[in-house]
Symmetry: D2
Subunit: 371 residues, 4 copies
């Protein structure tokens, strides 16, 4: 066709029309507060597109991330598993990354270059992110992709360690191969939440081996169908970074500065999970109910997770059971029976949806001053 | 007027018209399972109408109860506090009961004859239910209403012991007067939940003094405005009775066979709360996921309370965190990593929304057989 | 009791507790724009309480009105029909009004003194509002209440003329008695909407006899159960008054300056209905889509009625069918194919939910200027 | 890799896990009744995937269709516009069809082989469906694709005739080229609804030239984002076919047996639109209200379109305005004032959301028998 340029012009217009009526009623933008010294970045570093066994073009992954207000994503195509190769022969395994980068240009979204190293047990699946070139990671033997990833200064994490398709008992155990990788500095993190599954055993492995705690969607289909239409969000990793940059993100991952989040479930090392929850609850108003020694405290949950708390104080509540939820983005009044009039108290709550170790909930404390 | 009979005929018609389009979208009917040996009756034995300081005619209380599918209610007008007496002089304090009884005739709702004995501290407010005549309970001195109530074989309970208008610290303490009443067999129960307030201290008093645990709405305005439009139900007392009758209900109250319920909060003696929760969760399907040792168990919550559970087993879950909710009337799949293939296991869950004592949650166990 | 004053103090407190958590999620506040020269008052001048055959104390009617943001209400108890007289003997028929007035003191709600004159056919039921004393309206014969009402300068309207309990065909016809009342200046308005029923025949009678068009709830039970929980509002009369005062309201009613509204249904004389709809739709943005002759116009519906319109212009729409709804409080974009670039056009829409006569919809015109 | 077969086995499992929790809360299944002599097929014959300028793999289009309960779809990739050709070089233009066919195997969904012939004005865009091979339709000149399509016995329709990117006035006019195609039997239908746009002018062209009336989504992104999350459905074409088969569908399209539907908007020739609406409303119960001549008729709308009707009878309604909606899948009571007791009447309603010609609504009549 001669006038293909004109045609392209014409064909690009309907998107504008469609775009104008996007009210994004489906997904709610995620929001989590920064913690002292760090910017909190919302990331999903394990995703697939048509360039491996996913079902969408990379631009959809960028748009999904923008709808949920993520800060960074990585499209981690299987290097070895290419079911669409009859139609997408792509010898260059960086294409998915390049297309996402192009799509994200007009937006404030960080695209992390990544790939999935895909093996059966005992090697399993691993993501290498912050790579510079995916092609050299494609190899016959098990170890060399990890060696190459290290050469590229990539951050590497173990995917879905509890996945029962690979482990029929659902119980992750570090293999000798993986111990070797850790020892060599070739494996740095572990997915504690993948898709719908939180694995307590994976959390224990993370703690025992000082691996970075990760949460990812591993999405193949549509975020809408798997999460949004059910009123949920995908699993993400909150990364506490010096600044909002790829370099900051990379450094923070290596340092293990993360909390894995899946809706109301928060899993992380105590040193990051505790300040995250503390920052998520803002004390708004404090005053004694007239003629009583009952202290009314208004709390606002500025995070996107409903927070379930249990009273951990010697004082009981008026008009609220000891176990209560502050919904995401909402405020709630506590009426604390302090018995005497105090000028300050420590509000002490156990965060029941949060885990710093298997079955261990952090107790968070806020100093409350009465004017 | 001559044709007043015709007029009444005419005036009664609009109610039919209005009635036909009642779809009851506002309130959901409450439902709780029976437990072994007992019928579970849903009751609200503390309510007010225009015959004391409430704002509605007794027929509204009957209709509200029918909408929430209650089994029994009591209209417990203040004997001493009569703010509408300029317009409703009523020397007969049984009128509220009589009108409700008339209204309930066409329906399957039990009306319990009751009254509120209203005093300032240290006597406080008490409800006498299953009275035969309210008028003799009206007296100057504090003790004689209790003596009269006992003479009528009434069941008497202490209202809102933590109410800060009477106790500025919100901390209920049994007075000598009340201890005397208990000793005399003139005080048998205590409200552990009143309006929006669950009081752990009142629960402790109930346990220490073997008082019947009660939950009531103490409604003055509209159930719709205080609860339904917020997506909530009023507090009620579940009473475990030999049968669905006034006599059965009365006997069960005297025996302390109750659980107080306020939406997802359940408070009761262990011997009744435990079988209630056990009966509320029905095991539907049990099978191992193919080629795994992961046992899938489908649970149905047949109660009207969302039930929050924490895993109390040595086995962890696949695809579900250790803390999870089975919504009222819904089913949920647990995937239990039993590590080996078992032919039976004990599903053991801690009921986090339930209390058998202050801060004490019951652990419930279901025997699961694998076919 | 000696300390009754203290008791009252105590008893008044729970209302504060209850009040604090009223979020009014149930009812949405009604809002309609003023029209040129007039303030638009939202009124419901036909309601019942326990003082005749209603089911609530007058304070509930005040609270219901405040929730729906009404400007004025009247509690029009049946003078002759007193089913609660065993308990509420009240020889003074002004009590319902007095109690409402007291309740409304702290709020910005006008209370209109009124009563319902209740007769069987052919006299029927009529409301007299803006009376000064209800007692003299109670009489044996049919005519004298109307004579008395006139003496008190009351505004009188015919209630539910199509009510099939009185008219089995549902077809209202003015009786000789009523014609006489109109001739004597003793009957000034007619309910065109009562409860759920809009009567086209009543509208015709209003137009033929120059009667004021009224819409009322005639509520006996709860506004919540009949309307709010179904996502609806009660029928009201919008009155176009010189100012927000009882005197302004009274004068406007006598002058017939009204529109009856029941959710999306608006019924009124053309001279008031047309400016009401015109003021309800605000033109927000006007511009041609780039490189086209398609004019995009953003319309905002600032009323509480969803407005259904049909395109009445020679131009068709892009991306919107000729029949479309602007939801209450929402905006909508029209894309008008003007074929040539214009600097102004008349937007002409037929208001399909509005009636100025039986089956007659007003066509409204807005002048649109293109910058 | 040696064990790629095992790997594939493993990789196919996550889909099962994800699949099990699909509750399809997002989209509601569409349903429209059959009409006499025909099966009603729900079709969307204009869609795109990554094989032209769409953003998803063909399997997503199949799953979207299954969610909305469509009977037939066609993936009509632009033959000439191939923005992904760097990654998907595909010389075989039938691939999109083949992959969809494979995906649909396990389901009851008809896949129609189709392609979009893409030209600038005055030729415009056209879809050829029921082709046998897409490759020969790719040509330099404008006419030969149409000649080839005819050779393959394809059904050809004009796409988005009012699209302002091609027609800045938004006013479709048949070009000489298109008139020639019609004369030659090479153009058989026209999109009257495309994406969000219903064009009255296109409807007029359809009627004037006896072209088949089509409605299509022309989806490029996700049905969820463009429609489902806004509570809407995509535009479809209802085809009235002898049976549920590709051959029946093809024949019915050639015969013009269609109605284009976009939510509550229904556009079609009178001979198909009238029986569709008639079949969509089922008369459930008929009886006179006791002691009145008011006939209560219960109507059920068994279609997935809300149906807006205007009373077209000499009788007026009780308790319902002349303009009313029967929501999709819901019932509604009409109370018709027949003035005398009849043993049958014709219920006559004008279908305000339906068009048989620009601005022309069909009047539908149901014979109602009173027992």
């Amino acid at each position: 066709m001669k006038n293909i340029r004109f045609l392209i012009l014409l064909l690009s217009l309907p998107c504008l029309v469609i775009g104008q009526s996007h009210s994004h009623t489906g997904a709610q933008a995620l929001s989590y507060p920064d913690i002292e010294g760090y910017v909190t970045l919302k990331t999903d570093l394990h995703q697939h597109t048509v360039f491996s066994d996913g079902n969408v073009w990379p631009n959809i992954r960028v748009q999904e991330a923008l709808r949920e207000n993520l800060d960074a994503i990585s499209l981690t195509e299987h290097l070895e598993y290419q079911p669409h190769k009859e139609d997408i022969p792509h010898p260059d395994r960086n294409r998915s990354y390049q297309i996402a980068l192009e799509e994200a240009k007009a937006h404030d979204l960080l695209i992390v270059h990544g790939s999935e190293i895909t093996r059966s047990e005992p090697v399993g699946h691993s993501n290498a992110v912050f790579i510079t070139n995916a092609n050299p990671l494609l190899a016959e033997d098990a170890a060399s992709p990890f060696v190459e990833a290290k050469k590229q200064n990539a951050f590497v994490f173990w995917n879905h360690p509890a996945w029962y398709a690979q482990r029929p008992k659902g119980n992750p155990i570090l293999s000798d191969f993986q111990k070797e990788r850790i020892k060599n500095g070739e494996l740095h993190g572990i997915e504690v939440i993948n898709t719908f599954d939180y694995s307590e055993e994976s959390l224990q492995i993370a703690l025992d081996n000082n691996l970075t705690i990760m949460g990812t969607s591993d999405i193949h289909g549509l975020i809408d169908w798997d999460y949004t239409e059910k009123g949920m969000h995908r699993p993400i990793t909150l990364v506490f970074s010096k600044n909002r940059s790829l370099e900051g993100l990379r450094e923070a991952l290596f340092k293990g500065q993360t909390v894995a989040v899946y809706n109301d479930l928060l899993v992380g090392k105590e040193e990051y999970l505790r300040p995250l929850i503390k920052a998520s609850v803002v004390i708004k108003e404090v005053s004694y109910l007239p003629k009583t020694s009952i202290l009314k405290v208004t709390l606002e949950n500025i995070s996107s997770s409903d927070l379930l708390f249990e009273n951990n104080m010697p004082y009981s509540f008026y008009s609220k059971p000891p176990l209560f939820t502050i919904e995401a983005g909402k405020t709630l009044d506590l009426q604390i029976k302090t018995l005497d009039i105090k000028d300050k108290i420590n509000l002490e709550l156990k965060a029941m949806g949060a885990y710093t170790a298997p079955k261990v909930h952090p107790v968070i404390s806020w100093e409350i001053k009465v004017d």
